[in-house]
């Protein structure tokens, strides 16, 4: 009974390799779940807007739409650009992928920058009533997602220089680009809610 089993696999990596499918499944499940946080915020926004005794803080008329609209167009088009990058990668054109992917990142960064400008010009703050709080909460939380997306894209870009990285498929890129589309769709809803429905 004290003998050693000779074919013990001690330093094994778990004996199952085909894991890419799991990762994507898991990621999609995560995104669905994540979207509920936004839904919760949106619902809170709608309820408070419809019922608050005072909605806009004193001295605030409404939000300026032009700049944010340009911003939104850039962000939403970047989704198509990301898709283009994926196509390049799929065809094996690595440099094309890198260039277009970088463009996506640039467009995302432009959005964040534009948001920063907008924030710095606003006359109300986080603590200006329910509207102030909601505005910064929603745009800020979304902005964090954009920044995360840019970071992840940077990671994928760096990984594209690892030789053989795409031999087993392009899971990482597909997931990040899915995330990016998600962030864009959320933005469209957010834009409608905050800027259009005034």
């Amino acid at each position: 009974m004290t003998s050693v089993n000779p074919d013990l696999k001690l330093n094994h990596t778990p004996g199952h390799v085909k894991h890419d499918g799991h990762n994507m499944t898991g990621f999609v499940i995560f995104l669905c779940s994540e979207s509920v946080i936004f839904l919760a915020f949106f619902a809170g926004y709608a309820v408070l807007k419809l019922t608050a005794p005072q909605w806009l803080p004193d001295g605030v008329e409404g939000l300026e739409v032009r700049m944010p609209l340009i911003n939104s167009v850039v962000l939403v088009s970047s989704s198509f650009v990301a898709y283009l990058a994926e196509r390049y990668l799929h065809k094996g054109n690595l440099w094309g992928f890198r260039a277009v992917w970088l463009l996506t990142m640039a467009m995302g960064s432009y959005f964040v920058f534009g948001q920063y400008i907008e924030w710095s010009e606003l006359s109300f703050s986080l603590s200006s009533g329910v509207f102030g709080g909601l505005f910064y909460l929603l745009t800020g939380f979304h902005g964090l997602h954009v920044i995360t997306g840019i970071g992840l894209m940077g990671l994928m870009l760096a990984r594209s220089f690892v030789p053989g990285n795409y031999d087993k498929g392009e899971m990482g890129v597909a997931a990040v680009s899915l995330f990016w589309h998600f962030v864009d769709v959320i933005w469209i809803l957010l834009f409608l809610l905050i800027y259009v429905w005034q």
């Binding site: 004290t2 199952h16 509920v36 839904l39 809170g44 309820v47 408070l48 009533g129």
Partner: protein, 562 residues
Amino acid sequence: MTSTNYDPRILKAPHPVPGAPDNWKRFFSFNTDAKVIGIQYIATSLFFLLVGGLLAMIVRGELITPPADLVDPSVYNGLYTMHGTVMLFLFLFPILNGFNNLLIPTMIGAPDMAFPKLNAAAFWLVPVFATVLMGSFFAPGGPASSGWWSYPPMSLQNPLGHFINGEFLWILAVALSGISSIMGAVNFVTTIIRMRAPGMGFFKMPVYVWTAWAAQTIQLVGLPALTGGAVMLLFDLSFGTSFFRPEGGGDPVLFQHFFWFYSHPAVYVLVLPVFGIFSELFPVYARKPLFGYRFVALASFGITFLSLIVWAHHMFYTGTPNWMRHIFMFTTMLIAVPTGVKVFAWLGTLWQGNLRLNTPMLFCLGGLFNFIFAGITGVMLATVPIDIHVGNTYFVVAHFHYVIFNTIAFGVFAGIYHWFPKFTGRMYYEGLGKVHFALTFIGATLNWLPLHWAGLLGMPRRVASYDPEFAIWNVIASIGAFMLGVASIPFILNMVSSWARGPQAPPNPWRAIGLEWLLPSPPPAENFEDDIPTVISEPYGYGLGHPLVEDEEFYVRRSQEA
């Protein structure tokens, strides 16, 4: 010491190796083996059951006499808040995740979880937020004291004005717990969808896996809403917003919607796996197939769906308009239907069975008995005018302890005893188990049955002192509660001594049918490793005489030789 002839590598192996002495250190490391993580979860949460139980003992000690004499009322409020929080977030959620870790991979024949590292990370968040929560006892002004609902504006009052305060730490801990649970949920659902053994279609999955899946789906849909609400509450508390502060135009009732949108379904996250445990154990100990397996399996998702559209039954008296009360009353009562399907199926399983009353079966029967009672008081609470009278009284407290302790904790104990041999490789002591059951059943009944009457007479919950006419019910309740405290002694004794020196367990001591019973006790790290059996039958084929998997004898023989 006999361990001298072992290959030293075995002693360092990150998982149990059949036949080798147990390397207990792995339980204290960042181990990615689901079975190690499962035991880590269960041991941690049992410790917090003691902590939560100790807090409950002080609560019941205070309530044994009408005036607030044992502790200051402000302390009492902190105690019951922490009791509820510890019990839910540090006992029940983690222990059920422990079961998920042990049972899901072994029951579906997967070598491990889909994301082993994520799994370990989710577990190690538990001690982190446990520390945050326990640390809040030492925060200036004491721990959170606004109840586990943390309703604003009360929860935002922060009398001392410190940035770090009990409420702040409480929100932080709850948010971390949410993150850990989401990580777990993504993992469990992915594993169930993608990693079943060959031949195991959805209608060949054991019901426990169905219920775990249904429960984790609730986590995925509901938890983010609570997280959203918690973030807003934190901003109100610490960063000057006024989402829920009426002074700034916010709406305190909005928080209640966020809270219950998750926290109502959460109770089914807790009870569904216990329904799974009942569905696994009744067939084994009644020696009969589970009655109406497909109905029982599907009813889980019926409960999941309904659970998401009933939350406002916790808000019947908050100014909810009548039409809304009516909708939520209907949806709430509908839950009795899929639940009834399960209850009747269990009774059908017992009927004409060949019952063996060992400890797990006793806990199952006791749990089912209590659950039928609790469900009926639940339907009473769903009835708007009745709820308007008994809401926020001890009737509610009694209702939910009847489910949460008298049903769920019973199911958890049943599960622990039933799978103890499988995952520790040791048998527990039946006699101690039965003592544990008897004390628990009597204590729990004494504790919670009388409090229904206190509630009907109008005793509010969350009070440190009460009018003398409620004393009699509270005295009985406190005696019952102390009995529950005593009941933990045979349990702890049993667990510790059996694991240390209990008799070796065979692979299938209960002659149960299921993939996990085709594995050695305890199962090796990768479960079936490279030869995963092909499932050919529905589970629970007791008395039907057909094999569960292809080449069943091969697996049985292998499990016995290990």
